[in-house]
Amino acid sequence: MWKKAYEWLEERLGLKALYDNLLDRPEPKGNWWNTLGSASLFLFVIQGLTGIFLTVYYTPSPDHAYDSIQYIMNGVAFGWLIRGIHHWGASLMIIIVFVHMLRVFVTASFKYPRELTWLIGIGLLLLTLGMGFTGYLLPWHQMAYWATTVGTQIAGSVPFLGEFILKALRGGPDLSALTLQRFFAAHIWMLPAGLAGLIGVHLYLIIKHGESHYPSRDE
């Protein structure tokens, strides 16, 4: 019975080929430092899942954002846990992505033939920082409001383009409902879409070239 079901699926999905190409790959001897990439991916998934739960109750408007988060923390069953994981997951993700970058740098894994993997990785690092920056404003509390005021001001100090960048980020001269709305849009749609796309390419390149090995004295 199970065999039949498996054969039916195998015929249509090609599970065997998937297993051979994705899972049963040879790899150089690795150690625990090699788990940082998959840990980043795991955190991305965790942040995605908890983030989706949070959007069920969160309202991106200055009048309701703060109260909706208070409600998530006090009113919703296990809301505090979901938000807590999302909050700490963000910090942990920044650390792990950064240490992953350092590991690749130290072992010179970015060299031929993995230059593109590195480029995409830098894109992922910057997008992750972007997620941190946009997500920080969403609770609409004092810390968030003033940190974003200063953060966007810094972005606005670019010569010539500064004014434009500032207005584009804030949706006007000051932080307002528009700022919150567009930070929210960036945080839940634009940046995650970019991250997911780049992660796909990053993974494809890793499977294509394999994980790099640790260099020895003659390399």
């Binding site: 040879p26 790899e27 795991f42 955190l43 200055p62 923390m73 909050h87 700490w88 480029l119 941190g132």
Partner: protein, 470 residues
């Protein structure tokens, strides 16, 4: 890179694969363990540390000191230190745009800058030491982020120490490293470069320690944030008792203001009525408190219009308090008592009992700028030492203390029989248990802390139960 090198690299990799492991199950196994560990750490952090709360955003509160998320703190500090540099420091965009752009640019283009095929660590001393110094600097800048650049006494020493630590030493080290690498050409001078970066790191730690010694970090201002509904209602009630009671009365019933300078006799709508509570939503009530309705006699209480004003969060708490107390569509949760009930013989303390009572019933008038015979009650010291009758207001162990007389309905009269101090509170009475707390506190020597009060505890003599006559 020519084809020959590429071929060598690929062959080398093939050999490594031969004596390597399988992705499934060897690598996946480690990945799963790490992911699981991360998940557990996240759940523990969320459960036992939780998320720090902060009051609601208040655009009018420009005195708020901004502080970014911790992973941007190093940039924040870098900008502050850079701003101290004479002349160059005034050109802001050099630090805010150019330096980060160069950093990110170099990092991105790394595979195209470092094109040598060498991978072993001793052959890559320059990139490794440079990156090491920069990352180390980022960590230290994050650690000293909360230390101000100008000390309280106005000395610029901490700023200079930090600039030496965060800018000068790493900058100098980078220059020396580049010099060492280029003087020797391809042959990497491992030892001198390690010595340079090691020495730089030690010096940086030294200066970081010096900044910590010279100026301790500013203690973060404690912000009390009411998290639960009960805390919010109670915070709202305290604020209402201080800011609103004078005109609106403790039950919001007042229709004609009495005894308030400038607003005497003004007719107002009772704020506990259906008229107000059913027709104004939370946002509207909050705006009325914020902007006021000057023509109708309501002063603005928002921070932007009133130096002693309320923040957005505080205004929200007052609105919540009004809803849950007077709006019959809202069911008030079971509130915690204002102070823990006293057992027989127990002595109340200022911290636990008197402070919340004073806040709820007295501070509204007994604070600076009000008509109160100079008797201020916002702290323990003030209660004991201020007031025109300071020596008679609260006398240890004296039932005739003025305070005890007036709260029990005895006005204090002077020799001519004129009223010196009226009955307190001027309208209404204190609940009996509150009066009891005051009496016990003053009669037992007015202890400040709970420990002092506990030391004065006299266990009540047990009342002998009369044995029933046979």
């Amino acid at each position: 890179m020519n084809d020959e090198t590429k071929k060598q690299i690929n062959q080398r990799y093939e050999r490594e694969l031969q004596r390597g492991e399988r992705f499934w199950p060897d690598s996946i196994f480690k990945d799963v363990i790490v992911s699981l560990a991360i998940f557990i750490v996240l759940v523990l952090l969320a459960t036992f540390i939780g998320v720090e709360n902060s009051p609601k955003a208040d655009p009018s509160d420009t005195a708020y000191i901004p502080r970014p998320e911790w992973y941007f703190l190093f940039l924040f500090k870098f900008l502050a230190l850079y701003g101290q540099i004479p002349v160059l420091g005034k050109i802001e965009w050099l630090a805010t745009v150019l330096v980060p752009a160069i950093g990110i640019g170099l990092l991105t283009l790394l595979p195209f800058i470092d094109k040598s095929p060498w991978r072993y660590y001793t052959r890559r001393m320059l990139p490794l030491t440079v990156m090491g110094i920069i990352v180390f600097d980022m960590v230290l800048l994050t650690l000293v982020a909360d230390i101000p650049t100008v000390s309280e006494s106005g000395s610029k020493l901490p700023g200079i120490l930090q600039a030496v630590m965060g800018l000068a030493i790493p900058g100098l080290a980078l220059i020396i490293l580049y010099y060492l690498a280029y003087r020797r050409g391809d042959d990497n001078p491992v030892a001198p470069m390690l010595w340079t970066s090691g020495l730089a790191a030690v010096l940086m730690v030294g200066f970081a320690a010096a900044t910590f010694v010279a100026t301790p970090p500013v203690a973060k201002t404690e912000e009390t944030v009411a998290n639960t509904l009960i805390e919010q209602i109670s915070a709202g009630q305290d604020l209402y008792s201080v800011h609103c009671v004078e005109c609106h009365g403790d039950d919001g019933k007042v229709e004609k203001i009495e005894g308030v300078k400038g607003l005497e006799g003004k007719e107002i709508s009772p704020i506990n009525s259906h008229d107000v509570l059913y027709t104004l939503n939370d946002a509207a009530i909050a705006e009325i408190i914020n902007y006021g309705r000057p023509d109708a006699g309501m002063n603005p209480f928002g921070k932007a219009y009133n130096p002693e004003g309320l923040t957005k969060s505080e205004i929200d708490y007052i609105v919540i308090f009004m809803r849950y107390n007077w709006d019959d569509r809202f069911e008030k949760p079971v509130m915690k008592p204002l102070f823990p009930a006293l057992a027989g013989g127990e002595v109340p303390s200022y911290d636990v009992h008197i402070a919340p009572i004073v806040k709820r019933y007295c501070v509204s008038c007994h604070r600076a700028g009000k008509d109160n015979n100079n008797f201020l009650m916002t702290s323990y010291q003030e209660i004991l030492t201020t007031g025109d009758q300071a020596d008679k207001n609260l006398v240890k162990g004296d039932m005739n203390s003025y305070l005890l007389q007036v709260i029990q309905g005895q006005a204090i009269l002077d020799e001519k029989g004129e009223e010196l101090i009226g009955v307190m509170p001027p309208k209404g009475h204190l609940p009996a248990d509150v009066i009891d707390v005051w009496i016990r506190w003053i009669m037992n020597g007015m202890p400040q802390t709970a420990e002092e009060a506990a030391a004065l505890y006299v266990p009540p003599t047990p009342v002998p139960t009369p044995t029933p006559a046979p």
